[in-house]
Assembly symmetry: C2
Homo-oligomer: 135 residues x 2
DNA sequence: GGTTGACCTTATAGCTACTCTAAGGTTTAA
DNA sequence: TTAAACCTTAGAGTAGCTATAAGGTCAACC
């Protein structure tokens, strides 16, 4: 199976797959006589796993760790559990931060007259006031 | 005023200020005889504005636009208003996405036994299932 | 006058996670 | 045979800094 077909199956782009190989995130694909990469089922499994893990919000380095655990029969599920919880917490923090940002933006929008006049409360706000964000 | 004092006043680091000058986001500071950058009140105003705008979630290019508007006496507040609303919408989308991600992570965490055993439902989930995120 | 430490300068590389481009080889179909 | 659609690699570009190196300057102390 060529790289673009593999890409369709795992939801990643060919470029991304090559990139993952380049940074040693996946084991290099075997090659055909013409030098083309050749993918089989177990390769797709790895790539699929990565696609899902990235989609779930894990960084490349976290994916590396998860993939190690995934492929390590002696793993302890506690370890994975801790990783996921930690990630969930970080996402929660990010959400808090974005909520504060959103609130601030809505406040800014409301403060503005929204007409053709040059005076703009938004710009005054950005120039003068402190932000009331969390974090 | 040297760069590090200016940095303290506007909440940015000296490196960031130099970077903003380098990418032509701020007007270059005048220099003392020794080559050091020399900051005055109106310079700080610009830097402060940028600090707040970045904190509020605007990208560098958006900041460039906002700063232009801020310094343009002929601006129309509609224009700024539109920019802010658009930004608020994008932040809302991002929040939705992160909420879905968080939900998924919590679900994953709950599915796992969290013991010393090698079996781990989290890894099974990442390997097998589709994610139920928005977008 | 010399030295130390804290500042300042520039240029350059590194970070994340790709994406895009260029320049070229291979395969397939018309 | 020729064009389109693949494949390959290497290298640059993206955002927004941060860190490093290699050097100049300044203020204080002895």
């Amino acid at each position: 199976m060529n790289i673009s077909e593999a890409a369709k199956h795992c939801g990643l782009s060919p470029q991304t797959i090559r990139y993952y190989e380049q940074i040693n995130l996946v084991t290099p694909a075997r090659r055909k006589d013409n030098g083309y990469r050749d993918y089989r089922k177990q390769d797709l499994e790895q790539l699929n796993f990565l696609h899902r893990a990235r989609e779930t919000g894990f960084s490349i380095e976290e994916c590396r760790e998860l993939l190690d655990l995934y492929q390590n029969p002696a793993r302890q599920s506690q370890h994975v559990h801790a990783l996921v919880l930690e990630k969930a917490e970080r996402v929660a923090t990010q959400i808090k931060h974005l909520n504060a940002m959103h609130k601030e933006l809505v406040k800014l929008a409301k403060s503005c007259q929204d007409d053709g006049a040059p005076h703009c409360a938004i710009l005054d706000n950005l120039a003068d006031h402190d932000m009331e964000t969390a974090q």
